[in-house]
Symmetry: C2
């Protein structure tokens, strides 16, 4: 109980990703799953896992002679942190510039636009 919201590095986030998809898992499973998508050395993955446990982003429950690992930080919480951080760091905390940016520089398909409209409708309805 030290850090309210541990920070996850790029590399570490790939380990979290497999734990968010399924948990708990043994380190062996985690290594295998991470290696599906990367060519990292087993040692590297175990190091990352250890660091995640050390910083409280992952829980390790002893299971016999080994551990089973589960995320201690929810994916949504992490997404929240990261989004907020981008918003503050890069866009002065305002959402519209972010959106404007995406509208100018990212390719938004008709599908995306429709989806965003639905989202806005839903938000408005909820908010009132």
């Amino acid at each position: 109980m030290s850090n309210l919201t541990p920070t996850i590095s790029e590399a570490e986030s790939h380990v979290m990703e497999v734990l968010w998809r399924r948990a708990p898992q043994s380190s062996e499973d985690i290594v295998a799953a991470v290696q599906q998508a990367s060519d990292w050395h087993e040692k590297t993955i175990r190091t990352l896992l250890g660091r995640l446990v050390a910083k409280g982003a992952v829980n390790a429950e002893k299971d016999g002679r080994r551990y089973l690992y589960s995320p201690a930080l929810a994916r949504k919480q992490w997404q929240s942190q990261e989004s907020h951080s981008l918003l503050d760091r890069v866009f002065g905390g305002r959402l519209s510039p972010l959106l404007a940016h995406f509208s100018e520089h990212e390719k938004l398909g008709a599908k995306d636009i429709a989806e965003l409209r639905k989202l806005l409708d839903a938000i408005e309805k909820k908010g009132h």
Copy 2:
């Protein structure tokens, strides 16, 4: 001519910020401007500035016995990089989850929503 898009650290971004607002500026001006918003030591700010020059994010033009500094990386370009990076790292490259996230977890005022709608209209019109 080394790095296409230099990466800017958190601390460095505050220096960029003052250069994006006005350029060129002397280091003295930059130090003063950054200190308006922070309590960083002058040496710290000069170090950050030097690193930005070293990594090609800032240009230094000699002006007599000193330099005048200007951004070599455009703010929009940086915002683009950072946004894209968040999108890929955290939301699997898809915009809707990002938006959905904001709609759930950030406070969107009616004003924001209206603005976003207008943006979507504009995008759609432009796209066709």
